[in-house]
Symmetry: C2
Subunit: 330 residues, 2 copies
């Protein structure tokens, strides 16, 4: 570890993992935490439990705001464990001088998104800090969900399984970057920020056996695929051309020097299913987003690695993202 914490330590990628392992897991070590799932499974597998703090800047952006994000983020982590979001806590840290009207707008966004999930806020906390101690407003949401589909796990992938993505990738990262840099967009690019429980429920209602499920937030699709390859000790082979990316996101990626698969999403997930379920799963996903796609397959070629196959036959490893990426993306 470096002597001081750097922006890269919050990137959702390699340095972030190092910080978590060397400081937090080291001291807090226990069987539940070390599973590194999107949410902890507690109470004999009945409940899922997860936390997230939101520091996104700007607070309001195309397609969402920090309130919507705070509810989606935590509810999605529950949904990704096959759990129905149920009870949420909401803790807000507000900078002195913050607009009461903006605060109410944010709380209303939270309320709307809670209704989509069928969840309620049961406990809260409000701190106000002097000017300069925080940049405007941060929100923590922590949630409990009731597990409806058991045994979803990053460690459960085996050879032959199929990998799907629920929609086109990178819109959240691109939207926040554009908003922050004041880039005028001609079209309607907006964040993918959305509650994912309805889509997970649709998969369950269709009796699809979900093997692994994870929303591609910080670190993007690259982080999810690498974590799965490592946790399950398999190779994940991806057809690069099958990864759906909007033209506008591609344009912003070129400006940034980033790849869309490294960008954060807030309403996009990766799904692993048995080969025989792939078309059925795709059919269910496409009812919400026509851009959803089968992007790859699990093999034994390079265990613990993600392999990108291009349409002209070249192959390269896709690594866990490193470096600064975009701070305060969520």
């Amino acid at each position: 570890m470096t002597k001081t914490i750097t922006i890269a330590h919050g990137n959702g990628g390699a340095e972030n993992n190092e910080l978590i392992q060397k400081i937090f897991y080291k001291h807090f070590a226990n069987d539940i935490l070390s599973k590194s799932e999107d949410a902890a499974v507690i109470e004999d597998g009945r409940l899922a439990f997860t936390t997230d703090s939101f520091t996104v800047s700007p607070l309001f952006f195309s397609g969402g705001d920090i309130g919507k994000l705070a509810v989606c983020g935590t509810c999605n982590d529950l949904a990704m464990m096959g759990a129905k979001p149920k009870y949420i806590t909401c803790s807000v840290i507000i900078e002195e001088g913050f607009s009461t009207r903006d605060l109410e707008k944010i709380v209303k966004s939270m309320k709307n998104e809670l209704e989509i999930n069928g969840a309620i806020v049961v406990s809260g906390d409000t701190k106000v800090v002097p000017r300069g101690s925080v940049d405007k407003l941060f929100i923590n949401t922590t949630g409990i969900g009731e597990i409806e589909h058991k045994n979803i796990s990053a460690s459960a992938l085996t050879e032959g399984m199929s990998i799907l993505v629920s929609r086109d990738v990178g819109t959240h990262g691109a939207t926040i970057f554009a908003a922050r840099e004041g880039i005028e967009l001609e079209s309607s690019l907006k964040t993918d920020c959305a509650s994912l429980y309805p889509q997970v429920k649709a998969l369950m209602d269709a009796n699809i056996k979900i093997i692994a499920l994870r929303d591609a937030t910080r670190g993007g699709v690259s982080a999810v695929l690498n974590e799965w390859a490592r946790s399950s000790d398999v190779c994940i082979e991806i057809k690069e051309e099958n990864i759906p990316v909007q033209e506008e996101v591609k344009g912003i990626c070129e400006m940034l020097g980033f790849e869309a698969i490294d960008l954060a999403n807030e309403g996009t997930f990766i799904l692993a299913v048995d080969k025989e379920d792939e078309l059925h799963a795709l059919d269910v996903l496409q009812k919400t987003h026509v851009t959803s796609a089968i992007i790859g397959t699990v093999t034994a070629l390079y265990k613990g690695k993600v392999l990108l196959n291009s349409s002209w036959g070249t192959k390269r490893f896709l690594d866990l993202p490193t470096g600064e990426l975009l701070p305060r993306i969520c």
Copy 2:
């Protein structure tokens, strides 16, 4: 509500209540939240669930640090509902450039305090924000506890019951103020910050029927008593001379122009029991702190009000604290 949020909106007193009512309860309204207890009671009364964000400044102070505080604060809210702290989430927001060594010190403090409670961290989140976006480090902890003593409630006080305090009051507020202002203290004044579950367990093991229990954090003893008087629609009469306050805390209060009963505590609770249990309860409390005391009684004199009786026979109402008090006390 004012157009912008002020420091007073985070005081644990009147303005804080207004913010919570007019913005958060208004939109999040539900039966569990509106009970305004220290923790939400969920899952048919089996579990307690609570959240707290910690922004204390300085991060290290006499008798504790933000890590110890973050575990005590959330575990105590569970203990105050008669629950054994069980699962904790930990979400940390770190300013770029923060010392890795200090971070590890804080995490170690958390670990020590978790052991006292017999609780584990099962899920976490780490955000790093650019310099100036947060002052050093904030922590959110959210916890689930298993309820061992049912029906503890701020609304359960009736005439004749006794009110006790678990130790001398105001040390946390006085310690933070002294640390912040660089006041050199001759003696050993330190925060009361401590995990309260062991004391609650001692009360339960002694078969004392706990009517109401609340730790006197932001807003101090005054806030707890006022909230109880209002929730239970009773008068709480306090003998002012019976409230234990250390000499050094009194001195700092004089400098500040505050009263010790308005100052924040982080390991001090108020307990309501039936009259016939008061001496037994006092005996149990005094095994931990010899300064614990019976401070008052529930009457029907002025419903919804707290009455302070001085030793020379004068009476005055004790109000919910108002104004700025000390920001970033917890």
